[in-house]
């Protein structure tokens, strides 16, 4: 009995965190995918690893340091991208490898940490602490509210940045705001999904939903359904099979994607045109 209760409290925390992340992932992901920004999620997650390492070294909640590192770098990346001094994807790879290097060195300096780095890399429901839930919950609320308020501007900018600018929308402000929200999402997704798998969480449900070729709103709704059900299914699988939650979630999402792709006539039909 005691054993069951122990399991119960952490799986509830895992499900709570997972559900919250599953809700905001497609909201951010749909704009990342449509703006060809998918790689930014990957970069920010590696930056977050450096943030996690700093947190572990300083003995503060790694989620806070990951959030800080991710947010600061997101603004720096956007600056570099718009300055046009270097190519956008070059900026991303510099940040990706740079922060990975920093993370490795920090981990080495601390002679390895007394925590399971593996769970930060691939996600584990065991890593979710009660304070994490509060942070994840507040950020989810903030991100959802902001994205709802600025939904129409973000859609316009994603579809046609120039026309959006001519219509008087402060495009640069929105780009900065959006990338900050993306950075926050990446950071708070770490405990459940893991650093190496975050971009799949953001991208896969959206790409799957896009195969249905529906309106923007319906596509977003489909992505939400896919995201929430895959994350919940993944966490249960992780619990019963005792495997990494991030791995389980991403594999389920991938399976859904392949299934939908097969149903809708294969990848050449949709992506070949570009």
């Amino acid at each position: 009995m005691l054993f069951d209760i122990f399991h119960y409290s952490f799986i509830v925390r895992g499900l709570e965190a997972g559900l919250l992340i599953a809700i905001i992932a497609p909201l951010i992901g749909i704009f990342l995918v449509l703006r060809r920004y998918s790689l930014i999620a990957d970069t920010l997650s590696h930056v977050s690893l450096a943030g996690v390492a700093i947190g572990l070294l300083l003995k503060v909640n790694p989620l806070f340091t990951a959030l800080g590192a991710s947010a600061l770098s997101s603004i720096a990346i956007e600056r570099l991208r718009t300055s046009k001094k270097i190519y956008g994807e070059t900026a991303l790879s510099i940040f990706l490898s740079g922060s990975l290097a920093l993370a490795i060195v920090l981990i080495g300096l601390a002679n390895g940490f007394n925590v399971d780095l593996f769970s930060y890399l691939f996600g584990s429901i065991l890593t979710v602490r009660q304070t994490d839930i509060y942070l994840i919950f507040s950020l989810t609320v903030i991100i959802t509210i902001l994205l709802t308020i600025f939904y129409k501007e973000l859609v316009y900018i994603s579809f046609d940045e120039e026309a959006a600018r001519v219509s008087g929308i402060p495009v640069r402000l929105f780009n900065n705001l959006f990338i900050l929200l993306a950075a926050a999402t990446v950071a708070i997704a770490i405990p459940i999904i893991g650093i190496l798998l975050i971009s799949a969480l953001l991208v896969l449900p959206v790409v799957t939903a896009l195969q249905f070729k529906k309106s923007f709103k319906i596509t977003l709704l489909l992505a939400e359904v896919i995201s929430i059900s895959s994350v919940l299914a993944g966490i249960f699988t992780s619990f019963y099979l005792n495997v990494s939650s991030g791995g389980a979630i991403v594999l389920i999402m991938l399976a859904v994607f392949v299934l939908v792709l097969a149903m809708k006539g294969g990848p050449t039909h949709s992506l070949g045109k570009r």
């Binding site: 449509l34 308020i149 600025f150 129409k152 501007e153 859609v155 316009y156 994603s158 579809f159 046609d160 120039e162 026309a163 959006a164 600018r165 001519v166 219509s167 008087g168 929308i169 939903a209 896009l210 070729k213 529906k214 309106s215 923007f216 709103k217 319906i218 596509t219 949709s270 992506l271 045109k273 570009r274």
Partner: protein
Amino acid sequence: MSLDHTKNIIEVNDVSFSYGNVPALKNITLVIHQGDYVGVIGPNGSGKTTLLKIMLGLLKPSSGQVRLFGKPLSRFREWSKIGYVPQKAINFDPLFPSTVREVVAMGRYGKRGLVRWLNKDDQEIIDRSLRQVEMFEYKDRLIGDLSSGQQQRVFIARALAGEPEVIFLDEPTVGVDVKTQEQFYTLLEQLNKELGLTLILISHDIDVIASEVTELACINQTLVYHGEPKEFVKGDYLQKLYGKNIRQILHDH
């Protein structure tokens, strides 16, 4: 709508622009009045799209000034008076998950302002814009599934949805077949004559444009000609613009 043909909508005053050290525009001065239907023409690389972007505030001129509705660009805020049909309209992301109606609704966003959702009036204006370009029946289709001529109409509807006073069109007929082009120019003529919209049409297609617009501005880094199309065809401006054998080319067309 009463038109005041002496009212300045756009004033381009001694504008120059260079990309790095490469000059694109030199000392362009041009005034566009209310109700004008202006064709801005010039060969590829003449700087006509650059000029358009400067007029829209997307690029900052190296020197000179632009005024929209009497206000310098830096202080201009009434962007809802401006409609824009970008060149990109024909090579946007065909996978973008938006219905025709969702695309046209975007034209309403600037007018509605931040932190406000579209209301019933907006929805009616969106439907009206779709009817104006005869695309209402297609409203629930995905934008990527339409022909390029139909897409072009949708982008015009998007501009119309903002209830602008002036519409800028950048090479709107590229990639559109001849018959659709004719319908397209008929539509533009209606917008200009019946709704009194000021139109600025960028094109490299001189002989077509010359028969459509009321005024021509010919650009090849400098403003080579600005005036009625008739006078332009009579003069030897084409030679200035394109070099010697242009008349031959036009006759063969």
